[in-house]
């Protein structure tokens, strides 16, 4: 990632911890629905969290950090990126169904079944890397590593794949909380 003014401002814009916190909560909730056998509720989680995201960005971050509108080129690039992200989301859903089919059709010791346990964690890792590219925040690359390690661990121990998401989500929530506290300290309420 280049250290040009646009990247620095993008990093500053996203470096409030809210993205980590809400993404972490979302991932944990999806993991919990998975472990509880309520996978169908998983896709509802982002819909529930999105209004919180908009509210917090407007009423918490912008009053401290100020308002910025990025260039048209960047906005177009981000929209294209989000569209690709939606495709990845559809991929996650398809993988879930594929996973269900493989798990029921093959013995637990089969390599394919073991690898299938890792797939949700791998997809989360891919999403984390994509987020790192979008927001210029390098810590999302570390989150992707956490998801990969958790996925491998869950696969070796034959845990439910939801546990790898819960573990990764908790790491994100912890980091997000710490970054949020740092953000509040660094940017107190702006005085006009």
């Amino acid at each position: 990632m280049k250290n040009n003014p646009e990247n620095r401002m993008t990093r500053l814009y996203w470096d409030d911890g809210i993205l980590d916190l809400l993404s972490g909560i979302g991932v944990v909730l999806i993991g919990v629905t998975w472990v509880a056998g309520l996978i169908a509720l998983g896709p509802m989680v982002p819909c529930i969290l999105l209004p919180f995201w908009t509210f917090l960005r407007r009423n918490f971050t912008e009053v401290r950090l100020g308002h910025v509108e990025f260039s048209n080129e960047k906005q177009r690039g981000d929209r294209r990126f989000l569209l690709q992200w939606c495709f990845v989301g559809v991929g996650v859903l398809l993988t879930v169904f594929l996973f269900a089919i493989i798990k029921d059709g093959l013995p637990a010791t089969n390599f394919a079944a073991k690898f299938a346990t890792m797939i949700p964690a791998v997809l989360m890792a891919v999403l984390a890397i994509a987020t790192a590219a979008l927001t210029a925040l390098k810590r999302f690359i570390w989150y992707s590593m956490v998801f990969l390690v958790a996925g491998v661990e869950a696969s070796i121990r034959e845990w439910d794949p939801g546990w790898s998401m819960i573990f990764g989500g908790i790491v994100m929530i912890t980091c997000g909380t710490w970054i949020l506290v740092r953000f509040i300290t660094r940017f107190p309420l702006a005085i006009h």
């Binding site: 308002h67 910025v68 006009h192």
Partner: protein, 121 residues
């Protein structure tokens, strides 16, 4: 003797002072944005569409007074436009770089590259 010493100090100071104030650029606007604070703010504004005063304050890490003065000067020179508005109950000052501002910054980049790129470093 003391007077002579102080005089020589005075002259050497004047000479060195006049040497450092020799403009690097013949173009007045290029010399104007050569000042670090202005250059930082202008390069930030050139990378985005618009930003308010608070965001520029946080992203450039300039002091409130310095940023305010520099923005007024750049507005006078026609390098940025200023829009004052209310966002709910909060007053908001939005800045945007002008076409002229972009052109000057582009010319500055060309000239500074010409100046530095062939140095045997």
């Amino acid at each position: 003797m003391r007077d002579v010493d102080s005089c020589s100090f005075y002259y050497s100071f004047s000479i060195s002072h006049s040497l450092t104030s020799v403009p690097l650029f013949a173009d007045e606007l290029l010399q104007f944005i050569h000042e670090p604070a202005r250059l930082v703010v202008l390069s930030h504004l050139a990378s985005i569409k618009t930003a308010d005063f608070v965001f520029l304050l946080n992203s450039t890490e300039l002091s409130r007074g310095n940023l305010s003065v520099q923005m007024s000067r750049m507005e006078e020179k026609g390098l940025v436009t200023v829009l004052k508005q209310f966002n709910g109950n909060r007053p908001q000052t939005i800045y945007e770089i002008t076409r002229k501002g972009r052109a000057v910054l582009k010319k500055y980049r060309t000239e500074i590259l010409d100046l530095l790129q062939d140095l045997p470093l």
